[in-house]
Structures are given as C-alpha cells and as structure tokens.
Symmetry: C2
Subunit: 123 residues, 2 copies
C-alpha cells in the first residue's frame, strides 16, 4: 500500500476516507478489525499519531468502536453503513454538479460529457 497524500487536506482526513471507502465497498465488513495503529502507520508511512487521530475521528463519527488492548473494529450496523455510502455518494455528486454548474455547463452538457466518458472507459 503506497499512497500519495494530497497536501490540501489533512492526512488523517484522507486516511478516514480510505477506510470509509473500504467499508462501503465491503472490503471491510461489520465487526472486522482495522489494522492496528502501528501496522497502519508502517503501511502508510505515516506517524502513528496521525493514524490514532483518524481512528479517533472514525469512532466519534460512529463508524468504528475500539476495545482497549484488542483493536479498532467496524461497527456491525448495516444502517450506518448504508447511510455512510449514501452520504459519500451525495457528497461526490453534489460537488460534481456544483462544480460543473460553476464552470458554466448546463444539464444536457453534463449528461453528454458523462455518457461519453463512461463509454470511453467502458465502465
């Protein structure tokens, strides 16, 4: 695992997003254990404190829970996971629509661009 972190967003936020993605795409499921703070720190070449911060925030957001001495685990709550996926999708879509509107594209143009792009990529 080797990642280029953007300098325009705190690394711990970017790490939170990585983990959220793993959860909504079922790479991590309810009850699964996250990598330990130290393991994750080595994997991502990031200071353990930064990982700890990410894990703390994830817990504060109700996405994970921690057991001292045991580890940090994904909450086994399908509603939460569904909500999380919806939130992340909404955010992605909103920022896209707003961005394109700001750039002066109208609905037709946006749909055309996306349709063309989807065909090109074959997704």
């Amino acid at each position: 695992m080797d990642i280029n972190f953007s300098n325009q967003m705190p690394i711990y936020v970017q790490i939170m997003n990585l983990i959220k993605l793993d959860i909504v795409t079922k790479k991590l499921r309810g009850g699964d254990k996250l990598l330990s703070v130290r393991e994750m720190s080595e994997n991502l070449k990031v200071n353990p404190n930064t990982i700890q911060r990410a894990y703390q925030e994830l817990e504060r957001e109700g996405i994970t829970y921690t057991q001292r001495g045991m580890g940090t685990f994904v909450n086994d709550d399908n509603d939460m996971i569904r909500r999380l996926k919806n939130e992340m999708a909404s955010e992605t879509i909103n920022s896209f629509i707003n961005g394109m509107k700001s750039l002066g594209f109208d609905g037709k143009e946006i749909i055309n661009i996306i349709t063309k792009r989807v065909k090109e990529e074959g997704i």
Copy 2:
C-alpha cells in the same frame, strides 16, 4: 462578497479557484484588471498577504500578469483561457468518475444518477 472558506484547503488556493472560475465563465476577460490586493483583502475579509500569495501563484501559472504600480491583469490569451476551462472541467469530471467508481457504482448507475439529478434540478 462573503465566502465561507473550507478549512481543508489553503485559503489562497480557494481564492485562486474563485478567480479562475471568474475567468473561465467570462466574468473576467483577457486584459481585465483584478481587484487590487487591498480591495480584494477587504472584500474577502482576508489578510492582504494571503491575497498576494494567490496573485503570485496565478502569475506563476501563467494566468495573470502584473504591472508594478498598475495592478494585476488577466492574460489576454484565448488559448490559455480555453486550456484553463478544459483543465478545470477535466479535474472535476475525473474526480467525480473516480469517486463514484471507488464507491462501487458502474457506468449505468452513474448516468442514471446524474440524469435524475439534472431533471430534478431543472438545469
């Protein structure tokens, strides 16, 4: 003009984006003068040094030029402006497509979501 700056991106970068948007949407045209550092600083309630940093970077990117004692002006170069719009659009589109793919959506779903959304908003 009153803006909520996000805390997850340097303010000078966000200001650069505001100005780039004005350029690609023709609110600012080639040869037009930007607000002076001091005016912009008052408008946005931001320290003059932050504006200066934004203007410096814009010049470094070839988007504006400055004349000491005169002001900062948009480069009168239609190719540059076209390129800028394409760049900004590409970035918006790429991050959207990548985001949705990461979230597990396929092409059909993406198109459906966008189509529905465009109809709802009537844009």
